[in-house]
Every structure is written in C-alpha cells, then in structure tokens.
C-alpha cells in the first residue's frame, strides 16, 4: 500500500470562512473511500486542494508525493467535470479524445466508451445526451488516463436508480483494475454501495474515519416503523432517540436496542400495527455523528 494523497495540518480559509480546519489525512492505494458530510462541510475544498485548483492557507498537501499544483503530478489523477460543464458542441468521441491527449497512456476511445455504455453515441454532440448519458461521460473522463487515484464528486446526483447502479458497476470494475477511488456523495446509499472506508467531515473537521462496518457500528441503531395513534408515548420510552412521521401516517423511530423497545411497547399497552424494523443506514448513522459534534 502506498500513500497517494497526504494532508498535513491543512487549513483553508475563504476570507473569514474556514472551510478546512487543521485536517491531517492520508489516502492509501487500494480502497474506495467515501467522503461524506453535509453541504459546506469542506468536501469539495478537500478535493480541490488535491486537484491543484486551490492552495491551502496553511499546512501541506501532497499528491503522489509532490505538489498538486504541478501539472506533471496530475498525470495519474482522474477527475470528473460536472455534467453541465461538458462542451455542448463537441461530440462524445471528440471529448474523450481531447481529454485522452493529455495523458501518456490513454485508454483507447472505443474501449472506454464500451466500458461506460457510450459506444452508440460517440458521434453525437454532448448537448444532445440525456442526463444519465452525460453523467456516464463525465465519469468516464476520470478513467481515460488510467489513473491511480480518482476523485468523483457527487457522481450520480440526479440519476434514477437504474442509471446509478450501472454507473456504480462501472466504477467498481475500474476499481478492481487498480484505481483507488474517492467518492463524495450526499446519496448515502451510494457510499454504502461503493465505499470500504468512510471519512465524515463536518464544519471543516474530520469527525470520523473508519471502515464502513465500524462507522455503521458506531450507531448500533435500528429503525423502528409502525402505525400508532400515540407517537408521543413511543417517543417517551427509554432508548427512543428520534421520531420521524412518514407520509402514509406511520412513524419511524431511531432506537437503540430494538427488541427492548418492542417489549416496552407491549408492556405499556401502546396500540400499534404494521411494525417493521431494520438496521440504521449510513445516512442515519452519519446524522447521529454530526449531531454528536454539535451537541
């Protein structure tokens, strides 16, 4: 395992706003890393420092051991443009070729197009693509240069479930071919589906950095869903942390020990029906983590 990216005591301010506050972090080869956090948490700033787009106010950022602002260091880095950014008048094949020409050993256009399901549209102008196709093209661009490290910023925002799964499969295949991937997302299921290691940032700090199961384990919560005329009575029980009314009139509660809460429900004779229970998702885990820091 080698260190691909290194942040040492990195602080970045915009005027008097501190986007990153004394962050120290290493990204080693071999994983898909999920970078999570609410809007404005510092995710994009973290990536833009690695891309050489911005410089830290203090501290050092290293990409493959060198300065990210030096274009030669970015030879093995893969990034995605926002899908709205693609030059609309250029054809898909032209965009892939244009980007490929920046790299020493680019993947041939036909091959990368096949990998991301773009083979039929190489001669179409990018402006004529659907949202999902544009997104596949954007993500494909990150892999054109056979990168060692790939940064995907919100790769599937706005896509339907099928399109997201297709894209995830492509990213996983690329990962199996040796690319280390850092993916930011506010779709938690995306990070859950892809990531092996999860870094949670909030207000410029890294508040959690661990393997996916450990992050999940940090809140050993269950989501308890049921219909009841007395939601407040349920909320008043021990170990019930959070209440969310659902659209269909049922209620979801975040609880610690699910079995104990159900026993308690019965003992208190609170009427309920349609009870179901599931493990808390990363989104819920992550909400609990950020609430912990603000408390």
């Amino acid at each position: 395992m080698t260190t691909l990216a290194h942040f040492d005591s990195v602080t970045r301010r915009y005027g008097d706003v501190t986007a990153l506050d004394n962050v120290t972090l290493d990204i080693e080869s071999g994983h898909i890393v999920g970078l999570l956090g609410p809007n404005g948490a510092g995710k994009t700033t973290l990536l833009s420092l690695l891309q050489g787009l911005r410089r830290p106010t203090s501290g050092t950022v290293r990409l493959f051991g060198g300065e990210p602002g030096d274009y030669r260091q970015r030879q093995r880095l893969g990034c995605t443009p926002q899908e709205t950014a693609l030059p609309q008048a250029l054809k898909v094949g032209e965009i892939l070729q244009f980007v490929g020409k920046h790299f020493d050993d680019p993947v041939p256009v036909d091959e990368i197009a096949a990998e991301f399901g773009l083979s039929d549209m190489l001669r179409k102008q990018s402006g004529a693509l659907s949202g999902g196709q544009k997104r596949r093209l954007s993500v494909a661009l990150a892999f054109v240069g056979r990168p060692m490290l790939v940064l995907l910023d919100e790769p599937t925002t706005g896509l339907d479930v099928d399109a997201r799964r297709t894209l995830w499969q492509a990213v996983r295949r690329q990962h199996e071919n040796g690319a280390t991937v850092v993916v930011t997302s506010h779709y938690i299921d995306e990070v859950e589906a892809l990531a092996e290691r999860v870094i949670v940032v909030d207000e410029g700090h890294v508040i959690a950095d661990d393997d996916l199961p450990q992050i999940l384990g940090q809140v050993q919560g269950r989501m308890l869903r049921l219909s009841t005329p007395q939601p407040d009575a349920v909320l008043a029980l021990d170990d019930v942390r959070h209440h969310q009314p659902e659209n269909d009139g049922s209620h979801t509660f975040l609880v610690g020990d699910g079995d104990a809460v159900v026993t308690e429900l019965v003992r208190e004779s609170i009427p309920f029906s349609n009870l179901s229970m599931r493990r808390a998702t990363l989104e819920e885990a992550f909400l609990a983590l950020t609430e912990k820091t603000t408390a």
Binding site: L53, R55, P81, A89, F98, K101
Partner: protein, 252 residues
C-alpha cells in the same frame, strides 16, 4: 518550452476551433466587422482611398485595429466567460501546464483574428488605391501576428484577472484608448508633437509602424521593435502570473 507544452497547445487550439466552427455565425461576425469598417469609413473618402500611400496605410491601420479588437475582445471576454463555466476547473485538473492553455487561445482565437484580415485586404485591393507586392503582404501578416501578441496577452490578463462584466468594460476602454493613441483612427501625422511622442509608447502605434514598415518599406526606428519586445515580455509575464493566481470564480 517542452514538447508537451507545445503539443498540448495545439490540442487545445484544435478543439477550440472545432467548437467555434460548429456555430459558424460567431466566426462570420469576427470576419465581417473589420471589412465593413473599411467599407464605410475609408472607401467613401476619395482623398484617402485614391492615394496609394494613404490608402495602404488606412488598410494597415484598419487591419491592426481589427486584430487588436479581436485579441482584446475575444481573449478577454472568452477567457473570463470560460472561467465562469464549470468546464474550466475540470481542465485545470488535467495534466496541462498553464502556458499550453494560454498558447491554445493564441493559436485558435488569434488565428481567427488574422483570418479576419483577408476580407479587409480584398476590399482594400478592389475598392481603394492601396497596393503592395504579394511578398510584402505576407511580410505584413507576419508583422501583424507578432505585434498582436501584446494585445492577446492583455486580453488574457483581463480574462483571468476579472469577471466577464468587468472585462467587457475594461476591454472597451483599452481598445478605444489604444486605437486613438496609436494613430489607428487618425494618422499620427495629424497629431501634435507631444501626442506623437506619447503615441510611440503605445503597442498599437508600434504595431502600426511595424506593419507599415513590413509592407511599404522605409526605415524602422529601434524604439518600435524594442517597444514591441518590451510589451510582449511585460504583458506575457502578467498574463501567466494572473493565470497562476486564478482559482476560478468564487462568490463571497
């Protein structure tokens, strides 16, 4: 300058031109404007249009003005607009040196600017007494290309230095200031001597004198070519510094 830098400049220029030619009306605007200016402002003035010396100088002044306007406008505004699009930050993540991107603009936008001179020459040749040997015309083109570099670099600097709305305003002031002070609208022979002296420091005047020398012969003052070299260095360094400093547009 390494091979990579030059090769990538070509790549960026090629794809910028492909993109531009997909919307041909934009190209036609650049090509037609200087020719129309010559047609309306020079051709009707018999005194100038029928005198070979004056007519040739008028065609040259108009060519310098066309190239200068294109350099300042096309570079200043297209760069500052590109910078506000999300494609630009993506390009900055690619392994490409800043110099390649600036040269890419020079080879694409700059080349289009020079192409815009062709209709000017046709109109000048057909409807005025302007005259020059073919090899002199070629020499004039080379002189024009070289003396346009400071304008391109000022355009690049404006483009990277400010948002597009500010860029439009600054470019207009610079363009008309340079055009007048450089003797492109009124020949410098009509200037008061202090204005004539001042005028020699402007890149627009130096460009005009260099191209006139290339086309009509005569003597070239050292101040002219030294001035052009100085402007190329100063504006080139400024453009690169502003490119490096740029971190894309940010709203506070």
């Amino acid at each position: 300058m390494s091979n990579t830098t030059l090769r990538l400049s070509g790549v960026h220029a090629k794809y910028a031109l492909i993109e531009t030619f997909r919307i041909p009306i934009a190209v036609i605007g650049t090509m037609v404007f200087p020719a129309l200016a010559l047609l309306f402002f020079v051709v009707p003035q018999e005194y100038v249009a029928q005198n070979p010396l004056y007519a040739t100088q008028a065609v040259i002044s108009m060519s310098v003005f066309a190239v200068m306007a294109n350099s300042l406008f096309a570079f200043g505004i297209s760069i500052s607009e590109d910078r506000e699009k999300p494609w630009d930050p993506y390009l900055r993540t690619l392994p490409v040196p800043g110099l390649s991107r600036v040269l890419g603009y020079v080879f694409s936008t700059g080349a289009l600017g020079l192409a815009a001179i062709v209709p000017v020459l046709l109109i000048g040749g057909l409807f005025t007494a302007a005259e020059a040997d073919p090899w002199r015309v070629v020499a004039g083109f080379v002189a024009l290309a070289i003396s346009a570099i400071p304008f391109m670099m000022i355009g690049v600097a404006v483009g990277y230095g400010m948002p597009s709305k500010a860029a439009i305003a600054v470019v207009q002031v610079v363009m008309f200031g340079f055009a007048f002070a450089g003797g492109l609208f009124l020949p410098p022979e009509m200037f008061a001597s202090w204005l004539d002296t001042l005028s020699r420091f402007f890149p627009s005047r130096q460009a005009r004198d260099l191209v006139i020398w290339a086309v009509q012969g005569g003597s070239l003052e050292p101040a002219t070519w030294l001035g052009i070299i100085a402007w190329i260095i100063v504006t080139g360094v400024l453009a690169l510094l502003l490119y490096r400093r740029d971190e894309g547009r940010r709203f506070h």
